[in-house]
Symmetry: C2
Subunit: 380 residues, 2 copies
């Protein structure tokens, strides 16, 4: 049977879980991985080890692929244009992906299409930061972000004065200043869009961060006003359409104290805020990402349970989690564990757990207990 | 992280789906496959191509595996004993597996532990068959089975007279005669058992065969008397315990017109009658098989939906199913398609579809439509 080959650039856990979702679809998967030990490289059959920053490596890899997609957003835009010029479909394409690669480009574009964002401006030095702080009337603190390369809290600073603002400029890359939003919580609106424009929206979720890293996701976001939820979904669909996104788009949002929603970040790939969908939705974000990049009809994104909770498993005290993992399985036969095959390092995302059910308190407790036990912060 | 390596002998779809279930568990998978094109070999990273009938190939393969399990029941018993003597855990072990390999051994053992079976006897020639037919008072037809090597209706004959009974003896292997049971339907009781004796039972399902090949499975079996369902589950757990099964055990049953349940066949591996569990149970048969062979605590086997229906996709008129597959996705965004990556040959199992919901008629219609459309027997 001549089913298509999806070329995945990047060997992290997103690639691993996309491969898992592609197996029942009958899709062949080819992986470009930094090392043979990467999370996805352990479980994929057809693995090329190479550097995605090298155009010839990418070109060699792309031969025999029907489409190229990504585990991360770090492939240089000009390489993606070169692949497209070679006739390889790149999804999402470089014109869309640049908005997830460059926060300056993203903010300018969202402003242009009328999507509400935190007040922001590109800044050149600490003096600019002080001027930005004064302008808004809110003063300090101000959030500074390098426009490229940040993730999981890296490349982000919250500064309380112009004197504290020297650090972000040291790398010599453009810096974006943003107001520190007075938010009540963070939400994520996840949508999937196909090349011919079909799009589906997952229920809006609540995303709880600890030290700038996603910790807990609750689907759907508890107590979220229906009108606000609809507005967030429409906003995400609007962004996907305007930017020409193909595949999964995560729109990270602030819900402000005064009832607005502002866009924090965009990610154009399966996203941590969508991991709950593996066990909690009719069609997971990974399955729908594969379907979208192949321009197949999309699957139903609706939830299968009243509540689904995802908690990330971070590396902690146990270099080997196997006995903790065994304990968690014994304690909760309904627990869904997802391990990434990665070496444990403190604070590193090495897996996640999903739980679902009718009672949110119970579902939260079960997921948090399992993740804490695996990390070693809970021992009973 | 030093998670264990499961060595899977056989590269068919059962191995493919077991690998899929092992990915979130963080389990490393090593495959012994006949060819690099086999269903599982397409999607597994660590593949050894070799002949499972060769002991040295098996021994080489087993090095570096923490446990050996199977996609099929064809590995010679003496090879499994040799692996065990080498210190490799083989699960299910040869003492259990022989009951799924040899129908004569299976029948004798089930008789000994008091499990009801169709009337049966080993027969040496057509004269024996005539005597067997006369004895029971039921006369012909009689079912003849080669004790080893049959599956999906192969190695099984229904004969109407002693004259018709010559064929089964031609292969020179022992033949088992069985009464042709007057059954109202076929059921399957699926259980999973771990080495330290934990066991879980899936709901008893109805299995509908067409031309001796499984076509449709309905979970749970509609209208099944609760007492009878419980008896079937207990019978399967009893067999698993008495035979020392480790992993998934499928007990195929006849429900007779007079309200009895009789064992038809045993399979000691994930089984077609359990494919519904991939989308319909909290923990799939594949995930629980992996957990069992590693002696991990088992997952909850209960259903997630009121009704789940599985229909096999057989090869039909389309050598390439891709456009039919696209059509099915568009028609039913809730459909769960599972393709095996196999070349289409008429009548060959190349995939299955699962549907679930509250309305059995609707769930059945959707699954049958999709499977028929993929096969080419439905064109609208």
């Amino acid at each position: 049977m001549t089913f298509p080959v999806v070329g995945m650039v990047g060997g992290g856990q997103l690639a691993r879980m996309t491969h898992e979702a592609g197996i029942p679809l009958g899709i062949r998967f080819k992986l470009l991985s930094d090392t043979p030990q990467d999370s996805a490289a352990q479980v994929v059959g057809d693995v090329v080890v190479g550097d995605y920053r090298d155009l010839e490596t990418l070109r060699d890899f792309a031969r025999g692929c029907d489409v190229i997609t990504f585990d991360h957003e770090h492939v240089p835009t000009e390489h993606l244009r070169a692949l497209e010029a070679d006739g390889i479909p790149v999804r999402p394409g470089p014109d869309a992906l640049v908005h997830a690669q460059d926060k300056g480009v993203m903010r300018a574009r969202l402003d242009a299409i009328g999507v509400p964002c935190p007040r922001h401006r590109l800044v050149a030095d600490p003096g600019d930061v002080a001027a930005f702080a004064a302008e808004g009337g809110g003063g300090f603190p101000v959030v500074l972000k390098t426009v490229r390369g940040g993730y999981d809290g890296k490349g982000v600073w919250v500064v309380g004065s112009a004197e504290e603002a020297a650090e972000p400029f040291k790398a010599g890359v453009p810096v974006l200043a943003e107001e520190k939003v007075d938010f009540v919580r963070e939400l994520a609106a996840n949508v999937v869009r196909s090349p011919h424009g079909q799009a589906v929206a997952y229920p809006v979720v609540e995303s709880q961060q600890v030290n700038g890293v996603c910790d807990t996701v609750i689907a759907p976001a508890p107590g979220l006003d229906e009108e606000l939820a609809l507005r967030a979904e429409e906003m995400a669909l609007h962004i996907a359409g305007e930017l020409g996104v193909v595949g999964h788009l995560a729109v990270e949002l602030f819900q402000t104290r005064d009832g607005r929603i502002l866009v924090n970040e965009l990610a154009m790939r399966p996203h941590n805020s969508g991991h709950w969908s593996m066990d909690g939705a009719i069609t997971s974000q990974f399955a729908n990402h594969v379907r979208a990049v192949l321009d197949l009809p999309l699957g139903d994104p609706r939830p299968r349970a009243k509540w689904t909770v995802m908690v990330n498993v971070l590396g902690g005290d146990y270099p080997d989690m196997y006995s903790a993992y065994l304990h968690c399985m014994a304690r909760d036969p309904q627990l869904k564990i997802h391990m990434y095959g990665k070496d444990v390092k403190p604070g590193r995302k090495v897996g996640h757990v999903n739980t679902y059910g009718d009672d949110l308190d119970d579902v939260l407790e079960r997921a948090r207990h399992a993740a804490g036990y695996l990390r070693g912060t809970i021992t009973e």
